[in-house]
Symmetry: C2
Subunit: 441 residues, 2 copies
């Protein structure tokens, strides 16, 4: 337990830090209260999230909701909400499902979010309306001594890279961490439980609905049992948390909470590694579209998967792939080979199937490298491959595969061979080749 105590000591905000946070919050609330009097609507600012619940890690995001009565129309809520936000924060407008204002005050990230004040969390009018109920639920049920357990679990998840429900991470939200501690009481018992979780692991506190979720992890929301709090957790985050839990049990280490930074490989190291493997690298680089991360990352994943499908459909063997968003969006593939022979075997129907006549019409008379022949009763032909090089395939056919919607018209460039050994690609190629887990670095 020594290690966890030490970590707890490091991550629990001290009195001075608490005072800083409280000062920022009370200043903000004051400013908001003054501002809302300009409007002839009963508005109520509400501190929510980890600061309200006292489960935050140092330098938390400060989330303040401005609660509107339900009779206000959606477009007015948005307009007035942003208006107040701008006056209070002088920040920038952001969109999740729902617009809000993001700004910085005294070194803290602040979100000012308009929402509806509803009576029952099952009758919400916008996606964020549930949050105040979550905050109340945790404030009511989480015991004082469990707060440190929440903080430990958050830091652990942060260290291994699965903390956060946002699209970039697809991991565990703060609220889910709190529910896990309510469920399992302590950090270490959560870790022990997770080490033997199975796909579809289903958890709840008191009441659960009959809803059937298909997610890797299911935690019925105590304030709305028709919702799965763990729905943002991707199968990879789920698996990584299981893996890290097992490893932590086997060999406790600070590295799980505070991993070392992964060092970027030098161009020479990357080149040597690829040479040893005898494989080919292909990078597709898109200009970065101007959209928020929660829109961007799902689109990157879709684009990555779309290009991967295009490659697979044309017989390229993908060993691994990865993507990242820098100045440009980079999607990298490691292929067994960047080119394929001109000839490929193309199997048709068995001779006794009607369709065989069409196959013969199509392929007879020198359309392929061979005339159609019979093998195992089936018609077969040695056909000419349409695309022998992965670059020309992508350059000519990328529009025929499914891409993120903002990527469809985006300028892009493709790189292979020596062209991939450039400074800009050091990061993504390091990620592609160095597969150590964060705690193994």
């Amino acid at each position: 337990m020594e290690l966890e105590k030490e970590i707890a000591w490091k991550i629990t905000p001290d009195e001075k830090h608490r005072q800083m946070v409280e000062k920022v919050v009370s200043d903000l609330m004051k400013r908001i209260r003054t501002t809302i009097t300009d409007y002839e609507i009963p508005l109520e600012p509400r501190l929510v999230g980890s600061v309200a619940k006292d489960t935050y890690l140092p330098y938390p995001d400060i989330d303040i909701f401005i609660m509107f009565p339900p009779f206000i129309e959606r477009k007015d809520l948005e307009k007035i909400g942003l208006d107040i936000g701008k006056k209070v924060l002088n920040g920038e407008q952001r969109y999740a499902e729902h617009p809000y204002i993001h700004g910085q005050i005294g070194g803290f990230e602040v979100d000012l979010v308009p929402c509806y004040k509803v009576l029952d969390p099952c009758n919400i009018k916008s996606a964020v309306d549930r949050t105040p109920f979550h905050t109340e639920f945790i404030k009511k049920h989480l015991k004082e001594e469990q707060k440190v357990e929440v903080r430990l679990l958050k830091q652990f998840m942060k260290g291994i890279g699965v903390y956060g429900a946002e699209a970039k991470i697809q991991g565990f939200s703060g609220y889910l961490v709190e529910l896990l501690i309510l469920k399992y009481s302590t950090f270490i018992s959560t870790i022990h439980a997770a080490s033997s979780w199975k796909f579809g692991e289903t958890l709840w506190l008191e009441n659960r609905s009959e809803s059937q979720f298909k997610d890797p992890l299911i935690f019925y929301d105590p304030v709305d049992p028709f919702r799965n709090v763990a729905s943002p957790v991707s199968v990879d985050s789920f698996a990584r948390f299981i893996y890290a839990s097992r490893e932590y049990i086997a060999r406790k280490s600070e590295r799980f909470f505070f991993p070392r930074k992964r060092k970027q490989w030098k161009i020479k190291e990357i080149r040597k590694c690829i040479e040893k493997r005898g494989t080919s690298i292909l990078v597709v680089a898109f200009n970065r579209p101007e959209i928020v991360d929660d829109d961007l990352y799902p689109q990157i994943r879709k684009t990555e998967e779309g290009i991967a499908n295009l490659l697979r459909e044309h017989d390229f063997v993908i060993i691994d792939k990865n993507s990242c968003a820098n100045k440009r969006i980079l999607i990298a593939f490691e292929l067994e080979s960047i080119n394929l022979p001109f000839a490929k075997r193309h199997s048709g129907p068995p001779m006794w199937i009607d369709h065989s006549k069409r196959f013969l019409e199509r392929w007879r008379g020198g359309r392929g490298f061979s005339e159609p022949f019979i093998d195992g009763g089936r018609l077969v032909v040695i056909a000419k491959r349409e695309y022998c090089h992965a670059l020309s395939l992508i350059e000519e056919k990328i529009k025929c595969t499914s891409l993120g919607k903002d990527f469809r018209e985006l300028p892009f460039r493709t790189y292979s061979g020596k062209m991939v050994f450039r400074r800009e690609f050091k990061g993504i190629l390091t990620m592609l080749l160095d597969k150590r887990m964060p705690w193994e670095i």
Copy 2:
């Protein structure tokens, strides 16, 4: 009908040819009758096969059976049978299921085969005992005017390469051809019927058994309905006969009966063709084992399939393959590539399966090109490929795959790259690259 009349005229033995055949047969029968008096057993020589049935094509094999009473022991039948055969023919001993003597007389191939004279073909004591019943059945039921139809169908099958039940061809026996004419009456109506045969096509004359055969073509033997006369017909011969029938209906031509000889390609042509395709050729050459064709060809096929499986299991992509028996047994493969990169993706179990622990133990700590990582919830590692070149794979691992039994200890050599462009391989490589059907040449 003009074409078929013309063909019929060419392939029906004329009076002079008939007299030659009859002379050889009567001389042989005389010699046999004289010889068998040396033995104190009632023996009976019997002319069987196409000569007996008058359905033969010019220069037929002459088959004479020496019928033994059933009380003679098998080993005595074999001993005496071979003894008589040698005295009469001075030929060489051959084995099918069953030893017999093969020789040549007056330009004709002759088989002298000992068999048991049984009363009922369902109670045969050796595989060949059924043949005299087949001969009697056809002599009794085939009408005079149908003999020319049998000859046309035989010549057609010969031309397209599916005539003969022997292991080398895996096609239609003479008896099966005769049954098809009894079934469909004429050559042309057989062709029309065959053009729409389906896999598992089931035919019979009057009586059929309940036996369920799984062959591509089933023809219940009228003298033993528990036997499928078409069981030697491979799926490729079956499909080829369907194909040729359709083509013949669409465009009648002498070429189906008398195809042109396929010209061997020149080394230069072979090399050019391979270069255009961008593929790799691999040839495995075995010393020829000293066994009869009916033993040899199944073993060649088994060996070809065994090597193909070995290649596939190690990720080599086979475009096409072929084999032939010359001075050496040659098995040729056209591969997408003769070598593969050193690295390969190796997928393990999902993280939540117990087996994941064994996977991690096995692969952690630099056993592969990467540490194990998670993709789609599964453990994955970039592994080192065991065999990157098809030649080294075959040279080192051929014993680990299933080969024909006489091939297991046989010396062999492998060839790839420029080494395959040699005179000895012209035949097999022509077969591999020139896929025209016999009638298309």
